[in-house]
């Protein structure tokens, strides 16, 4: 993609005015309505949350080195896995790519000056911070032991812990997702530059459009659900309490109506990122553009009708179970379409293995593993055996860490030069990608085996014969922690010492690469007119198109 008048705005010199140096001071950040600055504010906020959630995970893995538990009391262990899940899901993975890369890139990719509602965008950050602080307050003042799913009666009748502030924190943070999704939908519909038709949009935009639909349709349901739960705790009037005719299963239905689509909130944006990375580093147009675009929408739609597969063993009707099982298998189709199309894009491409590409390839492998093991769980009979074991834990970590997080890191590495105007050391970035890949597999592959052998999740102790696999997993977790620490060091280092990136360090296509790095406040210095489809790599250096 390029602009018709690309020559008219050759990148200004790096010393030019950009969104980072246009004005200074804390006020210029806290009151900004610039989507790029808001994206960076989200980046810093969720990195802090990721570190907190990661520490809880490290403590858990250290504890599980010994069968009787090496570190903490069982009650503390329950709080650790709850904190880890709640922070990672609601305060890191859900906002991760949409709120950082999405905020930064959507207006630039479609040739707009900003999102449709910049003030709402800023408001969403404040709402997110308020929710996060309330949840952290609940965690610091005593913690929760309900798991991230808040199932009653663990969270209502039988909980001695601080469920209310944490649940309200999740409730409030939900509104920041809604505002973000609303903003993206309107922006993508109404703010596209002349010539930027729907089928010229980068696939990242399609993926985030699907994600925004889920934000807008799913989040209000979880909001009302945790709100009802909080009311039950506060006023002692039951909605989910069996003693007064309530049904705890209804909570699970309403919870998963959001929380299953939320899995696709986490993975769809990563798929969008990977589509961008695979084309840029194979120097090829994506194979089957429309299929990849529509598979994003297909995933968003189907995601709303599969929630019952979380409840196969809860006593829901067997017929409901059958239907949910079949529908869950259906999700595999659009996911597989994406994987096959990425693979076909690689075929005869001129592939270069720079750091973002390593993350993208890691994503494809790990996501495929996570997806295929998901089929075991969509099948009713095997799910009865595997439900509630470490098999589940391993499966969703392959999707959420091996998939979503790898895509997030790949995206951060790909667009970091655009965001900051600086290059990071590619050697260290490649080292980090490999360390993360090895550490991840060492952590979670043994958990598949543990789960298959019958080790239940969420227990602070386990039988001695499982120790070898648990020690492997804990060892992997420490490798993984090192892998995550390396980028933190060299990315911060690059802010000061990195080489200037120039407008397009990767030679990639896309409107965001036609403007300076970092971009000027209004993104483009001349009006943008789009004259060609996405990923038109034909004729660029190294292309075989």
């Amino acid at each position: 993609m390029s602009t018709a008048n690309a020559g008219a705005h050759d990148a200004p010199p790096e010393s030019g005015v950009n969104y980072l140096n246009a004005n200074y001071g804390i006020r210029s950040w806290l009151l900004t309505t610039d989507h790029k600055r808001i994206g960076l504010m989200y980046l810093v906020s969720i990195t802090v949350m990721f570190a907190l959630g990661g520490m809880a995970a490290v403590l858990m893995r250290l504890h599980l080195i010994e069968p009787q538990g090496a570190l903490v009391e069982p009650e503390t262990y329950n709080k650790l896995f709850s904190i880890h899940g709640i922070i990672m899901v609601f305060f890191f993975l859900v906002p991760s790519i949409p709120a950082t890369l999405g905020n930064f890139l959507i207006p630039m990719m479609i040739g707009a000056r900003d999102v449709a509602f910049p003030k709402l965008n800023l408001l969403s950050w404040y709402v997110f911070i308020t929710g996060a602080l309330l949840a952290l307050f609940g965690i610091v003042s005593g913690g929760v032991d309900t798991g991230w799913t808040f199932y009653p009666p663990y969270s209502s009748l039988y909980s001695q812990t601080h469920v209310v502030p944490v649940a309200l924190g999740v409730f409030i943070a939900g509104f920041s997702s809604i505002l973000t999704g609303l903003n993206f939908i309107v922006t993508i519909h109404k703010m596209r530059a002349p010539g930027m038709t729907w089928f010229r949009l980068p696939l990242f935009i399609w993926a985030l459009y699907g994600t925004s639909l889920i934000f807008v349709l799913g989040t209000p349901v979880i909001a009302i659900t945790v709100f009802l739960l909080a009311l039950e705790r506060l006023l002692h009037v039951g909605i989910f309490d069996p003693a007064v005719g309530g049904d705890p299963l209804l909570f699970q239905h309403m919870f998963w109506f959001y929380s299953h689509p939320a899995v696709y909130i986490m993975i769809l944006p990563s798929m969008g990122v990977v589509s961008e990375l695979i084309t840029a580093f194979s120097r090829k147009r994506i194979f089957g553009y429309t299929f990849v675009a529509f598979s994003s929408m297909g995933i968003a739609v189907i995601s709303f009708v599969v929630w019952g597969h979380h409840m196969f063993v809860t006593g829901q009707s067997i017929y409901a179970g059958l239907v949910f099982s079949v529908l869950s298998f259906l999700v595999a189709i659009p996911s597989a379409i994406k994987v096959f199309n990425w693979t076909a894009t690689l075929y005869k491409g001129s592939i270069s293995y720079q750091a973002p590409m390593l993350y993208a390839l890691g994503f494809i492998g790990l996501f495929t593993m996570g997806g295929l093991t998901g089929l075991f769980l969509a099948a009713l009979a095997t799910d009865v055996h595997l439900n509630g074991t470490y098999f589940i834990v391993a499966h969703f970590h392959y999707i959420m860490v091996g998939g979503a997080l790898m895509g997030y890191l790949g995206g951060i590495h790909f667009w970091w030069p655009k965001m900051t105007g600086r290059l990071y050391p590619d050697y260290w970035a490649r080292v980090a990608a490999v360390v993360i890949f090895i550490g991840f597999n060492l952590t979670f592959f043994p958990q598949f085996v543990l789960g298959y052998l019958g080790m239940p999740r969420r227990y602070a102790v386990y039988p001695a014969e499982f120790q070898v696999l648990n020690v492997m997993s804990s060892a992997g977790a420490s490798v993984l922690a090192v892998g995550y620490a390396i980028p933190l060091v060299y990315l911060i280092w690059s802010l000061r010492y990195g080489k200037p990136a120039g407008p397009n360090p990767w030679g990639a296509k896309g409107l965001e690469w036609t403007t300076a790095s970092p971009p000027p406040t209004s993104n483009f210095l001349a009006p943008v007119v789009v004259t060609e489809g996405a990923y038109n790599y034909a004729g660029t250096e190294g292309s075989h198109d």
Binding site: A112, R113, D114, V115, A116, F117, P118, I178, G181, L182, N183, I185, V186, H189, K190, M191, V216, L217, G218, T219, P220, V221, A223, I224, T225, L228, L231, L235, H236, V237, G238, I239, A243, V244, G245, G246, D247, L250, M254, F257, P520, T521, S522, L525, A526, P527
Partner: protein
């Protein structure tokens, strides 16, 4: 903010991120519709829970429904429909370029009906429920004629207060929005070319009214009393 070529004189209310007024109008309208979709899902979660429990505990929910006074609900329904009319007239006045006094008149009348609704709800209906000891969490008492249905009748009343309370909260927000609109009108912010805030606030106001229609039917009317 922008260093693009100037668009000529900016019309009032024009935001920098848009190319022209039409794009801005379409974006605000679409934004409000998307917001209303999330609101439908927000209330929808509660409606679903209500309907599921109504099917599970049919008798208790009918008993609970009979505790509500239809005359309060019906009066409030008329009041809200009247407020929808005056809201539409306010927007129409702005669209056809009437004097600002006329727009303000319709807006104030809308606020009056909205406040009347809340006044009737709080000072008559909820107070009545409190005195009758059918407000869960605030001195709720089981009645002998309910027999073993007591807890489930209380569950009905929980839904009643959660649902109408959430609706009342939306009304209060709506009154706040109307106040802002009155101030904006008084400061000559609107013209036949630019009245998007009036229009999208109107969408919100009508939506809140429609929610009430559903609440009235589901909570008061389907008890099978007539």
């Amino acid at each position: 903010m922008t260093d693009l070529p100037a668009h000529g004189a900016h019309p009032p209310g024009f935001a920098h991120q848009f190319e022209n007024m039409q794009q801005q109008r379409e974006a605000s309208s679409l934004g409000m519709w998307v917001f209303l979709v999330t609101e439908i899902l927000f209330f929808g979660g509660m409606f679903t829970a209500y309907i599921v429990y109504r099917l599970l505990h049919y008798e208790s929910f009918v008993t609970g429904s009979h505790l509500l006074e239809v005359k309060f609900g019906a009066t409030n329904t008329y009041v809200l429909i009247a407020s929808s009319l005056t809201m539409a007239l306010a927007i129409r006045s702005a669209q056809t370029g009437k004097r600002k006094g006329q727009i303000i008149f319709w807006l104030i009348l809308t606020m009056f009906f909205g406040a009347l609704f809340l006044g009737l709800k709080f000072t008559f209906e909820w107070r009545h429920d409190y005195i009758e000891h059918i407000m869960p969490g605030f001195g709720f008492q089981y009645r002998p004629e309910w027999g073993s249905l007591g807890p489930e009748v209380q569950m009905f009343m929980c839904f009643y207060f959660f649902m109408t309370g959430l609706h009342a909260l939306h009304m209060i927000v709506g009154l706040g929005i109307l106040t802002v609109l009155v101030i904006m009108t008084a400061r000559n912010k609107f013209s036949p070319e630019y009245y998007a805030p009036l229009e999208i606030s109107g969408l919100y106001w009508h939506f809140v009214d429609i929610v009430w229609i559903f609440l009235f039917a589901l909570l008061y009317l389907i008890g099978g009393r007539y």
